[in-house]
Symmetry: C2
């Protein structure tokens, strides 16, 4: 846990998740988060615009990990490019981040407005991936299908990963989910 | 157009879409919609709780079409069941509904809050389909994958269908998109 607590941002995020778990998202104030982290409200607002941002900070980095994975991949079919994006997107989800990812998702799942925000985040990811694929010369329909399917695989894998204890690498869980999608479609074709 | 205009609800919806196209969703009041339809505001509120409902009424029927399609299908693999759901979901999108579907989508695409609402609607559909699949004995991961993939196919097909002139049946466009998804995944596996 040492590294997780190393930065001020992480201390505030951890304090917030502890309090959300105990009192619910709506039952916690920024002042309480700051106090729980042993910091001032002023420090909180140096790091986060508001309480919600504690959970949703880093959308750009999140998307960028997928896009970087795709950029690094050689030209190929739409789905192979999308899979390279998935591999890149998996990178930030290390075993060390597992407790945070799980606690964050619990807070989100417990709150309809936060679930909507999460949905928008994943929709924005699909849009970004679709754009990156069309930039690589993929037609609009296969680009949308490959990007949206990649996001479906990511979401499903993420749910499975946080349900576990974090011992299995996220990339491995994701590869398994992708294989399952292949198998499902192959079975239906037969 | 005769049948489209036959009911009061349809008259109000058509009037609303005409006005949204001209003045934007935010630039139109319920009073203006009612007047444009030659009806009173009181009549409007007998049919719709608010202006937004003009665009989003019928979520239950929308989901039910998919669920009915799935219920009618014999037991089978997850993706075949989801595909039966897709076939059921396509049924309401007749050539007659094409102008309405297109005008409605234009209004939604032009407005971020309406786009979010549409996203929630499709997310609720995926949740309903996942539940129906698990009720049929499908495991949670394949159920989520098949349901979410079906929604991706529906969305992509819908976008393609409303971009056209409505001459091609929606079910045909959807079958083509599904075949494309199959091909994409098969290519990536190779």
């Amino acid at each position: 846990m040492a590294r997780w607590e190393s930065g001020t941002q992480e201390r505030l995020q951890r304090a917030a998740l502890d309090l959300f778990a105990e009192h619910g998202y709506d039952g916690v104030t920024v002042a309480q988060i700051a106090a729980h982290a042993g910091l001032t409200e002023r420090t909180f607002f140096r790091w986060f615009a508001d309480k919600r941002e504690v959970l949703f900070r880093g959308q750009e980095e999140f998307e960028q990990a997928f896009l970087t994975g795709m950029t690094a991949a050689p030209d190929g079919d739409a789905m192979s490019l999308a899979m390279a994006g998935l591999a890149g997107g998996a990178a930030p989800f290390t075993a060390e981040r597992h407790p945070w990812a799980r606690a964050r998702q619990r807070a989100i799942d417990a709150h309809p407005a936060l679930r909507e925000r999460e949905l928008l985040k994943l929709s924005a990811l699909a849009t970004a991936l679709t754009g990156a694929l069309t930039d690589r010369g993929v037609g609009p329909v296969p680009a949308a299908l490959a990007a949206e399917s990649a996001v479906v695989v990511f979401r499903t894998a993420f749910t499975a990963w946080i349900a576990g204890d974090g011992a299995r690498p996220f990339a491995e869980v994701q590869a398994e989910v992708l294989a399952e999608l292949h198998a499902l479609l192959a079975a239906a074709r037969a």
